[in-house]
């Protein structure tokens, strides 16, 4: 913030050129007025100067650094004190120094005045942000500033925003023709706050509308309709995005299971705990980076990718060798034994890392968001996770379809005895396939650590969802799992819009229960003779 102000000051002093002239004391005097309205008017007047002095005074005022002694104004900066009108530093403290009091109304007027001043910043992003702020809160008093900015502004995007801000300010104009023009200009906006500004003009105050003229009211109503249409479209885009995002999360959670359950037929109730292992390896790596390479903590996540895979795969191998291999072909027993494994793993995590959730920070390059449309904001971490889901998916696809190991896994799935007869080491393939499935689950858990709580119980929340994805997609089908995850994600986000999150979740579960009755083989059924076995 200080850097911003310094840079603004520099720029403002440049554009003011030789203007090192003192401010008119009469302008400043208004800032100390008793009535808020007078104060606000004075702020607008000071802002209209749009020079370094104005900025200095208003910034000081908003930081409660503007002092008054008698009828002279001073700016306090730590121990130093300077004259507000001239900027000259004072050596002695005047008597009776008192700071100005500002209430919330004055403060918000001050903020928009500052935004108006920032319109002249050399930094494009700052001008853009200031123009955005102004279109939410533009006020007739700021019109001169906006119009001046419009004259000098080159950037088309900022110009549009400024025009909206101008129109918003013009809605309060005394001339009905100007108001009509403003209402018309606003129809092309897609900003919800402009919509609410327009709506407030249509409200009744006592007997009369806030907007007196009937023709202007009709125009405003028309503009609102157009904005609504655009908002609905933006809303749909946002829903699809959050749906795809949820789908990619479901997919990451379920891909490992698509191998262990879908391909190998092992009911792995400890799947959620394999996700947990992946998430905790992110936490572990973060700790290692913080302790040893504090400068590059942002890259801990990249280093955690192989760790998550191999840690979860190692746990998977352990599970397979000690328990699961004795239970092949006995799904119900596998279910109970792996549930036991999951309890042991949960408790082990509690003992190792504590029962509380641990904090896993988003690296810098994953925070922030990009704005596609005025109210469609896509957070970076979601985008990265969608990309990561694509990466893991292609990894699995390559592994299953383009490697010798993948071929063996498919062969053992299709006909174990025959695969054994032609020399495939079936038992070792089982272990390896389970390890890969577990490792993929670890990668999923790593991704989940970026958006969800990481704690000993985190896996429990995903187990039902993961099974739903795999079962809905059709056992043994990677493509099925992808479609099921995306479909479930988008469908539940749209349902959430109508019914709320909990009911949406219940409806999705009920849908899956009903769906399985109709198509127990899932969306994409395997064809061939091994279906029945």
């Amino acid at each position: 913030m200080n850097r911003l102000i310094a840079c603004l000051l520099l720029f403002a002093s440049l554009c003011a050129g030789s203007a090192r002239a003192a401010m008119d004391p009469a302008l400043l005097a208004g800032l100390a007025a008793d009535e808020s309205d007078d104060k606000i008017a004075a702020i607008a007047k000071v802002a209209a100067l749009a020079d370094a002095d104005a900025l200095r005074v208003l910034v000081a005022m908003s930081k409660d650094n503007l002092m008054i002694a008698g009828d002279k104004f001073y700016i306090a900066d730590g121990d130093k004190l300077s004259d507000a009108a001239t900027g000259a530093e004072l050596s002695a403290r005047p008597d009776g120094l008192d700071s100005l009091t500002i209430n919330n109304r004055v403060r918000s007027a001050l903020d928009s005045a500052l935004a108006g001043l920032r319109l002249f910043s050399p930094n494009r992003d700052k001008r853009y942000a200031a123009a955005r702020e102004l279109q939410d809160s533009a006020d007739a008093a700021l019109l001169p500033l906006i119009e001046r900015a419009l004259k000098s502004e080159q950037d088309a995007e900022i110009r549009t925003l400024l025009q909206y801000a101008q129109a918003v300010a013009n809605l309060q104009n005394a001339d009905a023709a100007v108001r009509l023009e403003a209402a018309k200009a606003l129809s092309s906006s897609s900003n919800p706050s402009i919509k609410s500004t327009l709506l407030s003009r249509l409200q009744k105050q006592g007997d009369s509308y806030a907007e007196a003229d009937e023709k202007v009211r009709a125009e405003i109503a028309d503009s609102i309709k157009q904005i609504d249409k655009r908002l609905a479209r933006a809303d749909a885009i946002a829903r699809v995005f959050t749906g795809v995002s949820l789908g990619s999360i479901l997919l990451l959670a379920a891909l490992g299971l698509a191998i262990t359950y879908g391909v190998m037929g092992v009911i792995n109730m400890a799947h959620g705990e394999l996700l947990m292992v992946g998430a905790y390896s992110a936490y572990f790596m973060q700790g290692v980076f913080r302790a040893h390479w504090p400068d590059s903590t942002d890259w801990y996540l990249v280093a955690a990718v192989p760790l998550a895979f191999f840690a979860a795969a190692a746990v998977g191998v352990l599970m397979e060798r000690t328990v699961i291999r004795f239970l092949y072909g006995r799904p119900l027993e596998t279910l109970l034994a792996t549930w036991g494994l999951s309890l042991v793993l949960i408790q082990a995590a509690r003992v190792l890392f504590g029962a509380q959730n641990v904090e896993v920070a988003n690296p810098g390059w994953m925070s922030g968001a990009i704005e596609v449309l005025p109210n469609v904001v896509l957070p970076w971490n979601r985008i990265v996770i969608i990309g990561f889901a694509g990466f893991v998916l292609s990894l699995v696809w390559l592994l299953m379809n383009r490697t010798r190991l993948g071929m063996f896994v498919r062969a053992v799935t299709q006909n174990r005895a025959m695969a054994g007869c032609v020399g495939v080491p079936t038992a070792r393939i089982d272990t390896l396939a389970f390890a890969i499935g577990a490792g993929i689950a670890g990668l999923g858990g790593l991704a989940l650590s970026q958006i969800a709580n990481v704690g000993p119980d985190m896996g429990q929340g995903y187990i039902v969802d993961s099974f739903m994805v795999v079962v809905l997609g059709g056992v043994g089908q990677l493509a099925g799992a992808v479609w099921a995850a995306l479909g479930l994600g988008v469908a539940s986000k749209f349902l959430e819009g109508w019914t709320g999150a909990v009911i949406a979740k219940i409806l999705v579960l009920v849908f899956i229960i009903v769906f399985i009755q109709k198509r127990p083989q899932g969306l994409f059924a395997l064809k061939g003779r091994f279906v029945e076995s």
């Binding site: 119900l332 279910l335 549930w339 036991g340 309890l343 509690r350 079962v471 229960i513 399985i516």
Partner: protein, 409 residues
């Protein structure tokens, strides 16, 4: 199918009848005596805690027997039995909430949580719940209807094995989410608690507890007798045959759907009754009873005790829950390790549970042929090699078929 309807008459042997009588005498004679007549300082005195804990375990044991009826005898593993238990508890809890009357925190006609939510009148499904008879009907009807409808569609589509387990889990999970909402009208997160009286008797009085204990014990014994009658009948034969080779049973002209549906619904109703007795004893019911983890724990009681036997689940439920009480008091951090290892060890090395182990030890001591004669003369479906693949397909782990159990209760 060599059995005749006359097998029904030998459902309870003289020995079993004796055991039943002894059990009833214990529950209604000895326990009240120990709990009420003896002073608190006496070493034989049954404390309130012990009485409640054993009453609770008896309810759990009933649930375990109910689950065993469908898992052990019909080969259907439900991971949603906690739902029926909780529904029974909620139905009876509604009556208990209404019996609080004006003694709640807000002294209102409505249960406290409704006042808290600023509701002005009872939702429609609460009407009539101040009547004991109507709420008992709800206890039986609501879970039964839900089980019947759910089972009808699931069994008609021939969903079995793991698929069935997973969708029952989804069902209980979905219902849990529903009950967690305040708007559903069952107290949301907190559920029902702060009960004051049941049928006009103060709910925490030792006398009330003794009666509730007696009822729980009777319910358990009733469930075992019912199970025995059921599985020694022709109905039970068809059921077990369905478990072992469903397609064959169909080719022989039976429709397995209604056999499964009957035992499934019956099992749900038993659970609901156990839930209804459980709630006044522990004094609270909330949606976490429906969590999938709870339902899976029921399966481990049955597995530990020995499925496919009626007495096994009782031992299993008692053992696991006593261990739980002991662990959570002495070593709370090791309880999950213990429970998890129990899941693993029992499935790996004790597929028939404690009862199976006991039988193996006994038959090991006696000569091998004698073991065969220890089994009852009742006919069993022969296990032929061709039956095996089918049993696997049905998720029945390819175990050979057992004859009905005579040495149980």
């Amino acid at each position: 199918m060599a059995n005749s309807p006359s097998t029904r008459t030998v459902a309870l042997s003289a020995k079993s009848r004796m055991a039943l009588m002894a059990g009833l005498a214990l529950a209604w004679g000895v326990v009240p005596l120990l709990a009420l007549a003896l002073p608190a300082g006496n070493p034989l005195h049954l404390s309130d805690y012990a009485l409640t804990l054993s009453g609770k375990i008896l309810c759990y044991a009933t649930v375990a027997v109910a689950l065993d009826l469908i898992w052990g005898y019909a080969g259907i593993l439900s991971l949603g039995h906690g739902l029926f238990f909780a529904l029974g508890g909620y139905a009876f809890g509604m009556y208990l909430m209404r019996s609080i009357g004006h003694d709640g925190n807000y002294q209102s006609d409505l249960p406290d949580f409704m006042v808290f939510l600023d509701w002005k009148e009872l939702p429609w499904f609460w009407h009539g719940t101040d009547s004991f008879v109507w709420s008992m009907l709800l206890v039986l009807i609501v879970p039964a209807v839900l089980a019947w409808v759910f089972g009808f569609f699931a069994f008609r589509s021939r969903i079995k094995g793991v698929y069935f387990s997973i969708i029952t889990q989804a069902l209980t999970y979905a219902t849990m989410l529903l009950f967690f909402r305040n708007e559903t009208g069952f107290g949301g997160n907190n559920g029902f608690t702060d009960f004051k009286r049941v049928l006009g008797f103060p709910i925490t009085a030792p006398e009330t507890r003794v009666v509730l204990f007696g009822l729980s014990a009777s319910l358990l014994m009733g469930a075992i007798v019912l199970g025995r009658v059921l599985i020694t009948s022709k109905f039970g034969r068809v059921l077990m045959a369905t478990r072992d080779a469903e397609s064959r049973v169909m080719f022989l002209g039976y429709q397995p759907l209604y056999y499964k549906l009957t035992v499934w619904t019956l099992s749900a109703m038993l659970c609901a009754l156990a839930g209804a007795l459980y709630v006044p004893q522990v004094g609270i019911i909330n949606p976490s009873e429906m969590s999938p983890a709870n339902s899976i724990e029921i399966a481990i009681w049955v597995a530990v005790g020995g499925r496919g036997t009626l007495i096994g689940p009782v031992f299993g439920a008692a053992l696991v829950n006593l261990a739980k009480s002991w662990f959570t008091m002495s070593f709370p951090e090791y309880w999950l390790f213990f429970l998890g290892l129990m899941f693993i060890l029992v499935t790996l090395w004790l597929p028939d549970g404690i009862v199976g182990l006991w039988r193996k030890l006994r038959s090991g001591r006696a000569a091998a042929p004698a073991a065969a004669s220890a089994a009852p003369p009742a006919p069993a479906v022969p296990a032929t090699p061709t039956a095996q693949p089918e049993a696997k397909a049905a998720g029945m782990s390819g175990r050979t078929v057992e004859g009905p159990v005579a040495k149980g209760a």
